[in-house]
């Protein structure tokens, strides 16, 4: 469905992507992880065709986005939904109008049909009562849900999530991830999610890719990545999970910390086992 092949991109002489490659199958969700400033969002924008690489290929549905121009690219974009880090809601429109906007512009549905679909989608993200409010009047978590509803209103085949939990407290972040998971089950889209939410995000994806120094360091199932002995991957995972534990996040992915020696989780577990033996 999506194939990123040896993508290179530089900005002002600094190479941000240096041969990134991975594949996502139809209906699959892939998480892209990596340190801040590694170029995850840049990679996501290349995958969505919003940026063009210096070299390499971005193939979606058998078509190289780098070679598409004008109408063909716009036609491809109609299959996409993109949840931006900033939500990208139109500030001058109410929540209802924001979600209705793609339907009004891209379909010939009647006002009644549009109203039904918008209310249904807002119910899907748990916000039917906020429909008359403006983006400035709702919280960050609510705005993220509205943005998700707007993305899903045209039933995209491919969804891109650019750090959907950034700036949200752990509980809201967790609920947003759950919402993405339920939407994935409902709409059956193919998805790529750029996230720092480790290991919580691992429970909603089938594959994880780690971006390191412009290239994909590892790609595999969440358990494989968590169990990786690659020092770069292990160090990053350990750092992320320790931070999650430190923050008091109670994301209980089964056996998420088992592969990470030295965490409080493992120390407690070992202590409990010792006590059990005694």
């Amino acid at each position: 469905m999506i194939k990123i092949d040896d993508v290179h991109r530089s900005f002002n002489g600094t190479e941000v992507l240096s041969g990134a490659s991975f594949e996502v199958e139809k209906g699959e969700m892939l998480a892209v992880i990596g340190s801040s400033g590694e170029g995850k969002s840049v990679l996501l924008r290349h995958t969505a065709g919003l940026m063009r690489p210096d070299s390499g290929r971005v193939v979606v549905d058998g078509q190289d986005l780098c070679c598409l121009s004008g109408r063909r690219l716009v036609k491809m974009w109609r299959k996409f939904g993109f949840l931006f880090q900033s939500n990208a809601l139109f500030g001058s429109m109410s929540v209802f109008d924001n979600v209705a906007f793609p339907l009004r512009e891209k379909t010939r549905l009647s006002s009644a049909e549009i109203k039904d679909r918008v209310l249904h989608e807002l119910e899907g993200v748990g916000l039917p009562e906020a429909r008359n409010k403006y983006p400035a009047e709702i919280s960050g978590g609510m705005a993220r849900r509205v943005a998700l509803a707007r993305c899903l209103i045209l039933s995209p085949e491919i969804m891109f999530f650019d750090e959907p939990t950034t700036g949200l407290d752990p509980m809201i972040a967790h609920s947003i991830l759950n919402l993405i998971e339920s939407c994935h089950k409902r709409h059956k889209f193919t998805g790529i999610i750029v996230t720092h939410q480790i290991p919580a995000a691992f429970s909603i994806v089938q594959k994880v890719a780690m971006l390191y120094q412009g290239a994909i360091q590892i790609v595999g199932e969440p358990k494989e990545v968590l169990a990786s002995t690659d020092p770069v991957v292990a160090r990053f995972i350990r750092g992320s999970t320790l931070m999650t534990i430190y923050r008091g996040g109670l994301f209980t992915m089964p056996n998420a910390f088992d592969h990470i020696p030295g965490t409080r989780h493992n120390r407690d577990k070992a202590q409990q086992e010792d006590e059990g033996v005694q």
């Binding site: 969505a48 919003l50 891209k106």
Partner: protein, 264 residues
């Protein structure tokens, strides 16, 4: 020391080269932006609702400002004209002098500068905020053309509103001159208006309209371009807004000189 001198001179040449390239690249980008805007002006569908909203914002909401500035500009022209014409004993020509000054030069230029300050800056800031808020990317990913939705309505509204506002400015300005010249300084009302049809020609009025259409296009083009290419963060938007106002104002005055040369 020689190395240092070479390095310094080379550095200066390099900086000059980079600056030249930057200016050329920006001019090219601006040219492409204008060409793309003109292309979508003539390719339907036109977003009528958005155009009407822009006309309301750029035109209707600027009327009070234009009436105020037109009135006081006309009054100043009345004073200055009266005292200058008194020296040569030609106060009878106060009306035509005020009218010609406003219709041919002052009306189009001051109206354009006022619209730049009030509406142009707001358009740049609005589009710039949409750029940094990823709203323009969101439009593109919905399969919608940002030029059709954001730029073309502003461009057409500029072309329509600036000439109309200039007409309002001119009419109010002539009455401002009338208030000072006739009511305050004692020039006869018949003299003030009576000489106007004899001196003011249709080409004078048309010249002012042509100028204001060009100025409207310049304001919309520069302000939209600067907003569309705003830098990162609030600082980038504020910088773009300042540059849009400065560049629009300068281009209005420069193009005024060339248009005057052509139209005279």
């Amino acid at each position: 020391m020689t190395d240092l001198a070479e390095k310094t001179s080379l550095g200066a040449v390099r900086r000059l080269g980079n600056s030249t390239l930057f200016v050329l690249r920006t001019m090219g980008d601006m040219g492409i932006f204008l060409a793309e805007t003109l292309f979508f002006v003539f390719i339907p569908p036109l977003k009528i609702h958005r155009l009407l909203r822009r006309i309301q914002f750029i035109g209707f909401h600027s009327i009070l400002l234009i009436v105020l500035s037109g009135a006081f500009t006309g009054m100043v022209l009345g004073f200055q004209g009266y005292y200058s014409l008194t020296r040569v004993g030609a106060t009878a020509f106060l009306g035509p002098m005020v009218a010609l000054s406003l219709l041919k030069e002052i009306g189009p230029v001051i109206t354009a500068l006022m619209v730049t300050g009030r509406a142009g800056s707001a358009v740049t800031a609005e589009i710039g905020i949409m750029r940094i808020g990823e709203e323009i990317d969101a439009l593109r990913l919905m399969g919608l053309n940002p030029f059709r939705y954001l730029i073309v309505p502003v461009f057409l509204a500029g072309l329509i509103c600036v000439p109309l506002l200039t007409a309002v400015f001119n009419v109010v300005g002539i009455f401002g001159g009338y208030l000072v010249g006739v009511k305050l300084l004692g020039v006869g009302a018949g003299v003030y208006f009576g000489e106007m049809p004899a001196v003011v020609e249709a080409s004078d009025v048309l010249g002012g309209i042509y100028k204001s259409v060009v100025f409207g296009g310049i304001i919309a083009w520069i302000c939209c371009y600067k907003g569309y290419h705003a830098g990162f963060g609030p600082e980038g938007v504020s910088r773009s807004t300042t540059r849009a106002v400065v560049l629009s104002s300068v281009l209005i005055l420069v193009s005024d000189y060339f248009l005057t040369s052509i139209l005279l």
